[in-house]
Symmetry: C2
Subunit: 366 residues, 2 copies
């Protein structure tokens, strides 16, 4: 499903074929946890250039239910997104909801954060949910340990992740859906290597690096990414889960990663923070009150073409919904533009200098 | 500025020329109190067919300030709305914020609902604010009494409204902005007549009926509308302020009113209530959970074309912003479609039967 078109050092330019269309890589996937990318219509997502988005197994099976979504024609139709969708497996919630779950080799069992009901997520159930959702790319259930886990915990997580990957693969039936494996092992390269080797032997159509950006220092992640990417086959797509800070994206692309997802652009957008090539802006800040400039000069998103910083500041100041909508739109547009510029830089064999120039601009202004 | 194209009984088909474009009447104006129609982009407003929107003097002068808006090129540019804008005068806040204001012949003085600062709104200041905003249609400052006011209070409000209309007219300087007068007098037709007569003698380019839909029974308003409309010149536009229930709009059109505004479509939309030609729907209701139908069959709005009731129900159930956005969009689309159908019915001399058919459908289903 993946074609590598060009490499510039470790950075890769490629495309990934899915049932609902082709994804150029490197690519960032906006997160639509609950069958909506918060605050945006699918039309607005298209307008900022989104090509693939993410949905969430844990949240969607609780509400509205994966069987209901299947009954209504699947997640694409339910949320009116005609492009590719990747669904995560619930493995991340093993980490983020660690206080309300129990984990055994059989399953991760959650006490619902909504009503206390029990949700038993076996690898087989996670696959079944994603088959009901009908995503283009499904993820195996994994155990994602925290950034400060001991080696014993890490080893156990890797062992269970491998066990579950095998069971997931066996359970998976939809031929129009690709099932990706997830490499765990935190920043322990030996463990990562063991995990990757076994997963590669199982021959998945794509591989993710999980267990990064879960509390460890960014430098630790940056140092581990190159070696981890190199453990994966060159002819398969590589997905770094949950990473979205602009500087981390560029480091990851340089390390040879192809796709990314993160709630950052929408979450920070809802709080009035804008990403730009000149660093971050907090639009709630009083200094923007009379500023006629767009949030980012040269950005072609609907927000930047039509509105001033003063207007966006006003929207946040008075608590209007349009503020979070416009900032989410801009931040997604920014990350997608960053991806586009990165692809261009790789094609022109200047991805390292592109990264340096970006980092220097961000350094200067933030 | 107004051309009466056709009359069907008292119902009028016409158009109103403004600096920013022509408005076909009867027409409903979505309310953009704080320089945004809540939850929608201007692009989305255009897509549902909005032609003229409303802004609010009281709220905009408090935040972000009318001088700041003027400095940034006026309200059209500030909020990126290229069509006509009507601004109210703050007179409605004399009613709605009655607990935090004092009123004398000189001014209505508000203790800001935000920080307790004093805002003195004289007729001259209300005009100046609206000239700073640069709306196409400005309203005179008036005194809007509550629906249960005694005759003494009503007489005093009418006297002050007339005094303020005169002062507003004298203060008004922008030639690219029309200043409309407001008739008060509640359901007391004698007082309405006196007020209208004096205002008509002052020769304003348009007239509004204020002081309706402020607590009185709908039948009382319906009975008064015909006689009140007849007090106004046939060659000037007639604006019924703050009315937006579908049944009230049809009654008002039959009485000879041309333009309307109300927060109802967006406010109810944010609460999950949809207007349809088959009555109201509460999308929060569990009965919509598995419903694959659109909110309203035959509606061409983005929500109805692309999403199911089940999806909208899900959005409200999980508290996603897109729910309020989609329902606000649909409700505005619905009222604008109601206006379009009304204009068509007037053109074809069947406005009374159009109203009867609509009322019968709503009666049956709500």
């Amino acid at each position: 499903m993946f074609t590598l078109r060009h490499a510039d050092g470790n950075a890769r330019l490629g495309f990934m074929r899915t049932t609902h269309g082709v994804v150029e890589t490197p690519m960032f996937m906006p997160v639509g946890t609950q069958a909506t990318v918060k605050g945006l219509t699918p039309e607005q997502l298209h307008s900022v250039g989104a090509s693939i988005i993410l949905g969430n197994t844990y949240h969607l099976t609780l509400r509205p239910g994966d069987e209901l979504i299947a009954e209504l024609g699947g997640l694409h139709r339910f949320m009116n997104w005609s492009g590719p969708i990747l669904t995560d497996s619930g493995g991340y919630q093993v980490f983020s909801l660690s206080k309300i779950r129990k984990i055994t080799d059989h399953a991760a069992t959650f006490r619902s954060h909504l009503d206390g009901a029990m949700l038993e997520l076996t690898p087989e159930r996670a696959v079944k949910i994603q088959e009901n959702l009908g995503s283009d790319i499904a993820m195996v259930l994994d155990e994602c340990p925290p950034g400060d886990a001991t080696e014993t915990v890490l080893r156990s997580a890797v062992r269970r992740t491998l066990l579950w990957a095998e069971r997931s693969k066996r359970a998976h039936t939809r031929e129009d859906q690709a099932l990706f494996a997830i490499v765990q092992g935190a920043s322990n390269l030996e463990l990562r290597g063991e995990c990757a080797k076994e997963l590669v032997a199982m021959d998945f159509p794509g591989y993710a690096l999980g267990g990064f950006s879960v509390g460890e220092a960014p430098e630790i992640m940056h140092a581990a990414l190159g070696p981890c990417a190199a453990m994966l086959p060159a002819d398969k797509p590589r997905y770094l889960m949950g990473v979205g800070r602009p500087e981390d994206l560029l480091a990851s692309i340089d390390a040879g990663i192809d796709i990314f997802d993160c709630v950052l652009p929408t979450r920070n957008g809802r709080n009035g923070q804008a990403f730009t090539f000149d660093g971050k802006l907090n639009l709630k800040n009083a200094k923007h009150k009379r500023d006629p400039q767009p949030v980012e000069s040269g950005c072609a998103c609907y927000c930047c073409v039509h509105f001033s910083r003063a207007y966006v500041h006003h929207l946040f100041n008075v608590g209007e919904m349009l503020g979070p909508t416009l900032m989410s739109m801009h931040n997604i547009a920014f990350l997608l533009r960053l991806m586009g510029e990165s692809r261009k830089a790789i094609a022109e064999d200047r991805s390292a200098s592109f990264r340096e120039v970006c980092l220097a601009r961000w350094q200067r202004t933030t």
